[in-house]
Each structure stands twice: as structure tokens, then as C-alpha cells.
């Protein structure tokens, strides 16, 4: 194979790339000793942030463990909301609106009364609540918060909160069959929220989860045997 002719495209490309690397500010920085030290410090800081859960905190709330658990029925001031968690039960029903029972499926339902206190605007329909109430794992276990998989109004239908009106909601979590057995005592945490007013002035609504505002610990009723018995009796 013959050598490429002088000033060939390949030579020009290689020369241009070499020139770009030579002139690059970051490369120049790494040629300095203090530049290499700075880069190493930044890399270590980024890795430490990740390992310490800095990335995790964006997704999951922290500070639940510091809260004192309260019994079911206790009210908590969650900023824009007053929240009362009343009860929880395990069910084979995929939806409280259906009579259908699926023995292979377990859903944890938590009933709560939520009173919206923002006086300036209408609440966004259907968006609220997916991450308002979090499962904080079984009593005594390390918190492993999970956002709800469903939010409904008690009795079915979409949850729409009206100002100053206590509204009963049901939040649900589908429990994995591969996960640990469903606990008999459960902890539930409620997030505090801040909210930029939504008026015609600012059509975009900005919900900002602040920090955990309340923690409840209560017994979970197991309705599954009763549902299965009723299903058999119905056959």
C-alpha cells in the first residue's frame, strides 16, 4: 500500500484534530499540576455525592426517620394541606370501584382525609396525591418510601380537592409478590408541599415537595380472607 500523498485529506484531518486538542482549554488545564489536582478533587466530590445519596434525595424524601409516629386519626399540618390518615387495609381488589377480586394480587389501600387550604386557585385535578403520602415501610424497619400507584376519592371517581373542604381519599400501593410479606403494622408519611399560586397570571402550576410533615403508625386490616370467602360464596 502506498503512503498517502502529502496534504491528503487524512493528513489534514489528523493535523486539525491534533491542533484542536493542543488548543483545548481543558487539555491545557490538565497539563498543569494544579489542574490535575482540581480535576481529581471534583471527581471525588461527584462520586461521594452520589454514594451519599445526593442523587437519591431528588427522587425519595429523606427525614422520615426523624419524625415521631402518631396513631391513626391524628391530624397533621402539611403546609397547604391538613392531612388525617385514618386506616389501611390489604385487599385482593385491583380497584375499590370494582367487585372483581384477584387472588394473585395484593393492594394496600390507605384512607386519608385531605383538606386543601390554598385560597387562591383551583387545585389541579388528578395530579395531586401520587407522592403526597408515602409508605414508610413496616414499623421498626428502615424507611423505604414508595410513591402511591393510585389515588381516588372514597367511593371512586377522580380526586378533586376544593378549598377548605375535607375530602376523603384512598391511596393505593400494589405490593409486589416478590417483595417482603405485607406488614401488620404500617408506617405512612405525608409530605409537606409548597405551591406557587395558580391563577390566570401564572398558568403553570409548580408543586414543590418540601419535606416530610407527618408520620403515622397503625395496624393494617387484612380484608383478603373475607374477600376470598365472599367470592367463593358468590360462586
Amino acid at each position: 500500500m502506498s503512503a498517502p500523498p502529502p496534504e491528503s485529506l487524512k493528513q489534514r484531518t489528523v493535523a486539525a484534530a491534533r491542533g484542536a486538542v493542543e488548543g483545548n482549554g481543558y487539555v491545557k488545564l490538565l497539563r498543569q499540576r494544579w489542574g490535575r489536582v482540581l480535576a481529581a478533587v471534583l471527581a471525588v466530590a461527584a462520586a461521594a455525592t452520589g454514594l451519599a445519596g445526593g442523587f437519591e434525595r431528588v427522587e425519595r424524601p429523606t427525614g422520615i426517620a426523624a419524625l415521631t409516629p402518631q396513631p391513626a386519626g391524628a391530624a397533621v399540618d402539611a403546609g397547604l394541606y391538613d392531612v388525617v390518615v385514618q386506616s389501611a387495609w390489604l385487599s385482593h381488589k385491583p380497584s375499590q370501584r370494582l367487585d372483581y377480586v384477584d387472588p394473585d394480587r395484593t393492594t394496600l389501600y390507605v384512607a386519608a382525609t385531605i383538606t386543601w387550604r390554598d385560597r387562591r386557585s383551583m387545585p389541579p385535578a388528578g395530579k395531586l396525591g401520587q407522592d403526597l403520602v408515602w409508605l414508610a415501610n413496616a414499623a421498626g424497619a428502615a424507611p423505604n418510601p414508595q410513591t402511591a400507584t393510585g389515588v381516588e376519592r372514597v367511593g371512586g371517581a377522580q380526586l378533586v380537592l376544593q378549598p377548605d373542604m375535607p375530602t376523603q381519599a384512598v391511596l393505593s400501593w400494589r405490593l409486589s409478590p416478590q417483595g417482603p410479606p405485607a406488614p401488620t403494622r404500617m408506617r405512612v408519611a405525608v409530605m409537606g408541599y409548597t405551591f406557587s399560586p395558580s391563577t390566570w397570571q401564572t398558568p403553570e402550576e409548580h408543586w414543590t415537595r418540601a419535606k416530610p410533615a407527618g408520620l403515622w403508625e397503625f395496624t393494617v386490616e387484612d380484608r383478603r380472607p373475607r374477600e376470598l370467602a365472599a367470592r367463593k360464596a358468590g360462586r
Partner: protein
């Protein structure tokens, strides 16, 4: 350097003073204008078009009437169609009251959805119950009642010019805030600045509020069933 250059003449002083005064006046004028310019609210506020029950209220792209002959109705629990034709209807008990408001609405320019809400005297706003996804005429067979089901709730319904919609809106309001309620409507999911906002005083005075509270039915249904085949 001569003496004239070292000591500015009175004429130059006068020019300097004149320029300084003009500059100060201009700055003052700018400051005054900045202080007195219309606020964001004043520049982009919606144009409120007021009306009363029985009047046809004409706004930009929207024509609305709350018929005077159709009465407001109240209930303590809202009953909406179930998830299927044979599922039990959903019952939504309220800590206040459900207020049913009759509405006749038409878009006059483009096809669009509309948004409605109630506003009380304290400025609190109440969203209507969302329309159930049940399609008109869905077979209904539950609790000994059969036929085809028709939903009266028109919240968020898509409208087309030339096809006025008639129905009702169902609002959940505190029982002690019925007095002085206004129904408000606008086109689109979000209020557009400078667009029309229809405001209709429902005409609920103290006596009527008491009457509505006393007349509240235990269950307020959003749908009717009609027998027979369509």
C-alpha cells in the same frame, strides 16, 4: 492657555445648568412613568363579561346561558356512573353540598373546551366534578334498574361551533358559602390573558341559600336512565 479657557464663560455655565435641568426632568419623567405604568394584572387581566341567570351572555368565542327556568339543585352525595354498565354507581359523599348548575353553552369561533368554576365571596374557587367517561346511551343494568344511561355532566366537554351543549355542572361547595356564588367560564384549559371571562351571579341570597341547604337531597344523580332500544 488663556483666561477664557481657564474660566468658563457664563454662557457655558448656563448651557451646563440647562442640560442638567433637562436631564433631571427626563429622569423624573421616566421615574414617574415607571411608577405609574399599568401592572401586569392591569395589562393582561381577563375581560370580565357579567351576566345573570336567564340572560344569554355573549363573550369572545363563547355564548353562555344559565337558564332561569331550570332550578339549581343540591345534594349531599353525588352519584355518578360506575366504571362499567353493571358496576354500582360511584357515590361521592361531601363534607359540604353538591350544587347542580344548569348550563347552555356554545362556542362561536373555533372548536374548543371550556372551563368553569364557582367563586365565592371570599375569592375561593371551586372546580366542577369531572365528567364521567361513560358514553351516551351506554347500557345500564344495576340494582334492578335497566336501560341506557345518559350523563348530564358537561364539565370539560369539547364544543364545536353550531352545536350548543346543554347540561349541568356539579360543584362541591361548603354548605355555608352558597350565598353570593358566581359561576365563571372561559375558553380553553387555561385562561388566556386578555380573553373573556364570563361571570354570572347565580343570584343566591341568604334566603335562597337556606332554601337550597334545606332542599338538599341525600343523593344527587348526574345521569338518567331511559328504557328501550335507541
Amino acid at each position: 492657555m488663556n483666561a477664557a479657557a481657564a474660566h468658563p464663560s457664563p454662557r457655558r455655565w448656563r448651557r451646563f445648568a440647562f442640560n442638567a435641568v433637562v436631564l433631571l426632568l427626563a429622569a423624573s419623567a421616566m421615574f414617574w412613568l415607571r411608577r405609574h405604568e399599568p401592572s401586569y394584572m392591569e395589562r393582561f387581566a381577563p375581560i370580565v363579561v357579567r351576566g345573570a341567570p336567564g340572560e344569554v351572555v355573549q363573550a369572545r368565542g363563547l355564548r353562555i346561558e344559565i337558564p332561569a327556568d331550570s332550578a339549581l339543585a343540591t345534594g349531599r352525595t353525588l352519584v355518578t356512573p360506575g366504571i362499567t354498565g353493571s358496576a354500582p354507581p360511584d357515590e361521592q359523599p361531601s363534607s359540604g353540598l353538591w350544587l347542580s348548575v344548569p348550563v347552555r353553552i356554545e362556542v362561536t369561533l373555533d372548536s374548543d373546551r371550556f372551563k368553569a368554576f364557582l367563586r365565592d365571596r371570599a375569592g375561593r374557587e371551586y372546580a366542577p366534578a369531572p365528567k364521567s367517561p361513560a358514553e351516551p346511551g351506554r347500557p345500564f343494568d344495576h340494582g334492578g334498574e335497566g336501560g341506557r344511561m345518559f350523563e348530564s355532566n358537561i364539565a370539560g366537554q369539547s364544543l364545536a361551533p353550531g352545536f350548543p351543549a346543554s347540561g349541568r355542572l356539579y360543584f362541591e361547595v361548603p354548605a355555608d358559602r352558597l350565598e353570593g356564588l358566581h359561576a365563571r367560564f372561559h375558553l380553553g384549559a387555561v385562561m388566556t390573558p386578555n380573553d373573556s371571562l364570563v361571570d354570572i351571579d347565580l343570584g343566591i341570597d341568604r334566603h335562597r341559600a337556606v332554601a337550597l341547604r334545606e332542599a338538599a337531597t341525600p343523593k344527587l344523580r348526574t345521569f338518567v336512565t331511559q328504557g328501550g332500544v335507541l
